[in-house]
């Protein structure tokens, strides 16, 4: 102690012994203190990157111009209306330098071409991260409260989704994810409100279970509940990982609560045996284009067919024949909102189809299931489970209320603070990896988690994660002017008796009218302006395809003559485009020289035969519809307007706008209208 005191006093004496020495020492300390700030800057990370950048550009051919554009010091993009304060360009110096395209070294790489200029949008809007930070660790990997690490490239499209609520052509992953949120029924349980305040609505059609006992046996329900994908690989119903007892109790409640529907239990008039002609079933199934909506697994294990309706690979295991007959007779009796059309099959056809569909069964499926009659306690337990698992969030179930806000709201899941997340051991501490794990293995997060196990591919889980990450607080705080709203379906409903027919035939399941409906078949909003009466009548009686390469086609509905006339009248009267001017187009018969000139234009100047067929012997193009009978199908006014600007009549159509002169368009129209097809009545052939 004594020694230390002595040492300190001698040091004090040495430094500040006399005033001159003290002054000198203090000046020195002051000088050093002043040097701290410049030294700190000199040794900072960004400064070393800027020096590296200068070394990088020194040896390049355009070093002088690159040098001229280089500004030393901290750079900042400040966009108050977006809340952007980005200093990323301090180190990312080559983002706008097109001559650095060959440089792969970060942080000097050129930014790939995107529609948004850097100086108007900044960086973190799309990429996440901390824009204000000036060290790599803080900018890219911050996990502090309220801060977000940078978004992995694989989910980069979620950045777009914050402003773009509509489906962008350049973001397929985000679009798929958004479709899945509604198609896989996520939004039945999880409420999602878009930044503009609209709610995401489910687009799937979970069947009502109010009359389930008419349709299926308790044994089938049990097997289904245990593993839905074992029955149909493509089903969107998730696996709830139920125990045998729980599945048995739920099936008991569903069967006991089911109310019989009149007509479902009536056995078909004739016994559904295989019809005399074994090919009748498959050919009726094919002719009715059931495969446009329903898939069946083929021998190779691939699904063939559409995904609008349920997969039918093992339908014989599921559906009772008498229910199937009633359903095929008129599906709207059992389920008034089904997307399935009312086909108007004859009893004979129903019998053939029922036999054909009943044969689609797997004798091994559910063969080991034998359920004893359930006690009232078991039934009550089944109801309790249904309430707990939220089955009624998707399905209508007698005696169980649809739960409200059953699962957490996901409207701002993309900004969920890491501090609120309980990560699994060994998991990367980031929001994307949490969301991904939660979708892939929800039950790994604890036995109390009710979220079921979905069967999804890696691409699908990535897409869902992308769509969820896009739901950020920043997206909600964005000014309205920057938000591009989703285009919601209208609530268009055709009117009158024809409207009822259109609903019965479920035309809107495939066709779109006035902004509502499916996208499998053409938009018919202006169909009345497009087609001729005789053709439409014939087509509704017996639809034939216009495009040889299409797989999904319009089915035949066995319409009565009066229904057919009703529909034809309605379409021709109501679905008229105000933009089509019949005056401009050639009408009546055209002089042969104009037709001949149109033919010349068709084959040489515009080479329409690349995509269309007029002469079945010479032309082969089959991208567009076959035009051999176009003169009996379309109206001249439509053909003329279409040739002038196809996209104006049907946005997004592949046919390019060739910018035809009025004369050329008139001549081509005259030529096309002369193509009446064999016998002049195309559709009948």
């Amino acid at each position: 102690m004594q020694r230390i005191r002595k040492y300190v006093s001698s040091l004090w004496q040495a430094l500040f012994g006399d005033p001159v020495r003290a002054f000198g020492v203090v000046s020195l300390i002051l000088l050093l203190a002043l040097a701290i700030a410049p030294a700190k800057e000199h040794f900072s990370q960004w400064h070393s990157y800027q020096r590296q950048y200068l070394t990088l550009i020194r040896d390049r051919g355009d070093a002088i111009s690159l040098r001229r554009r280089f500004v030393p010091g901290i750079h900042q993009i400040w966009l108050p209306e977006l809340g952007v304060v980005d200093r990323c360009t301090t180190c990312h110096l080559g983002l706008n330098e097109s001559s650095l395209a060959d440089v792969a070294q970060q942080p000097f790489r050129k930014h790939p071409v995107v529609p948004h200029p850097l100086d108007r949008f900044g960086c973190v809007i799309c990429h996440g991260g901390q824009g204000q930070a000036t060290t790599v660790a803080e900018a890219h990997h911050s996990e502090r409260a309220g801060e977000e690490p940078i978004l992995p490239t694989r989910y980069i499209e979620s950045g777009c989704g914050q402003c773009h609520q509509n489906a962008l052509p350049g973001t397929p992953q985000l679009n798929l994810g958004r479709t899945m949120l509604t198609r896989y029924g996520c939004v039945h349980c999880h409420a999602i409100t878009r930044p503009d305040g609209s709610k995401m609505e489910a687009t799937d059609h979970p069947p009502s279970l109010a009359h389930i006992a008419d349709k299926s046996t308790r044994e089938w329900i049990f097997s289904w509940l245990k593993d839905p994908q074992a029955y149909a690989a493509s089903t969107t119903m998730p696996n709830y990982k139920l125990s045998d007892g729980d599945a048995s109790d739920i099936s008991a409640y569903l069967v006991s609560s089911s109310k019989p529907q009149a007509g479902d239990t009536v056995a078909p008039a004739a016994k559904p045996t295989m019809a005399a002609d074994p090919a009748a079933g498959p050919s009726l199934y094919g002719e009715s284009f059931c495969a446009s909506c329903h898939a069946v697994q083929n021998a190779a294990g691939n699904l063939v067919g559409g995904d609008l309706g349920p997969e039918l690979t093992r339908i014989g295991n599921k559906a009772k024949p008498e229910w199937l007959a009633a359903w095929l007779e008129n599906p709207r009796v059992y389920d008034s909102t089904t997307p399935m059309p009312h086909y108007r099959f004859t009893p004979q056809q129903i019998e053939t189809l029922v036999a054909f569909l009943q044969a689609k069964s797997d004798s091994d499926y559910g063969s080991g299931v034998h359920l004893d009659a359930a006690s009232s306690q078991q039934i009550a337990h089944g109801r309790k489970l249904i309430v707990e698992l939220g089955c009624a969030a998707c399905h209508e179930i007698n005696g169980v209320q649809k739960p409200e806000n059953f699962a957490p709201d996901l409207s701002t899941i993309g900004s969920k603070p890491l501090a609120q997340i309980v990560f699994l051991p060994g998991m990367e501490h980031s929001l994307p990896s949490y969301i991904l794990a939660k979708i892939r293995q929800p039950r790994a997060f604890g036995s109390s988690v009710k979220m079921p196990q979905f069967t999804l591919t890696a691409a699908q889980t990535d897409a869902l994660t992308t769509a969820l990450l896009a739901l950020t607080a920043r997206g909600r705080a964005m000014p309205d002017s920057l938000r591009i709203a989703a285009i919601p379906d209208t609530d268009y409903q055709p009117a009158g008796h024809a409207g009822k027919l259109i609903a019965e035939l479920a035309c809107l399941s495939c066709h779109r009218f006035n902004g509502r409906g499916g996208d499998m078949a053409p938009d018919l909003t202006w169909e009345g302006s497009a087609v001729q009466r005789q053709w439409l009548t014939d087509f509704l009686h017996n639809p034939n395809t216009l495009r040889p390469s299409l797989i999904r086609r319009m089915p035949r509905f066995n319409l009565s003559d009066s229904d057919n006339k009703e529909l034809t009248d309605y379409i021709l009267t109501v679905y008229q485009s105000p933009a089509i001017d019949a005056e401009l187009a050639p009408s009546g018969t055209n002089p042969p020289d104009v037709v001949e000139r149109g033919k010349q234009l068709f084959y040489s100047k515009y080479a329409c035969q690349a995509c269309h067929i007029v002469d079945t012997k010479a032309d082969k193009g089959y991208i567009g519809p076959t035009l051999t009978q176009v003169g009996s199908r379309l109206t001249p006014a439509w053909v003329y307007a279409w040739l002038k600007n196809p996209q104006a009549l049907r946005p997004g159509t592949t046919e390019p706008n060739q910018n035809l002169s009025d004369d050329d368009a008139r001549a081509l129209t005259a030529f096309l209208m002369s193509q009446k097809g064999p016998g002049g009545r195309g559709a009948k052939q």
Partner: protein, 251 residues
Amino acid sequence: MMRRFTASITFGTSASLALLSFATLAGCKHSAPANAGLKATAQGTALVESSGGHQVGVTGTVLKDPLVVQVNDDHGTAVPGALVEFHGSAGVGFDPAAVLTDSSGQATTSVTLGTIAGRYDLSAVTPGKATPVSLEIVETALGYQQRVGSILADKYCSRCHDPESSPQRVSNYDNLAVKPHAFTEGSTLNKMSDADLTSIILHGGPALNRSALMPPYGNTLNAADVKALIAYTRAVSDPPYQPPGTVYARK
């Protein structure tokens, strides 16, 4: 920075993607993890590509089809149980990065492309009997603009320009009197300047004295679309496209 890098390894397997992007951001080479725990029971002398090469994917994502290579011996017979390691440039990930060939002599891995658009030269290596045998595989990663181009090409161009047919999309190639060039046909397309490609897209074949079967898209596509289409054709071109202009030779 390296301290952070090694620290993130300890997060475990699920961190591999973050690791990848980190590796690219940090500008350091991503080296495949050691083939720990894999004991080869056999050696082959040749490597052949079975499938999964020449795919076109999107930057930072997993390629659609897995990469499958086969190890053969001197007689061309498949060798099961041989070790195959996959290597790639910065940012490319393999799951798994080292694998033993299965009973049919094939090694399968799924490939995650790097974050930089362009061609990726990957290699598969097997120890071999005396010297290691390697096989080069090329995959292409599309950036934003190139992918927009690929989507437009699918809609407007591929029906004629791609001779391959699938049940969902029948090619129109065979029906055309004058055959269009596939977008991968570098031998022809690389000789055409961006300006030529732009004018043939905007004004159709006759603009360059070519067939009128190629229609004009000038009133259908906008300037950004056309640029995207050209960027896409340049990206998938084989042999690779070399942009013109000054070559910045290093001193």
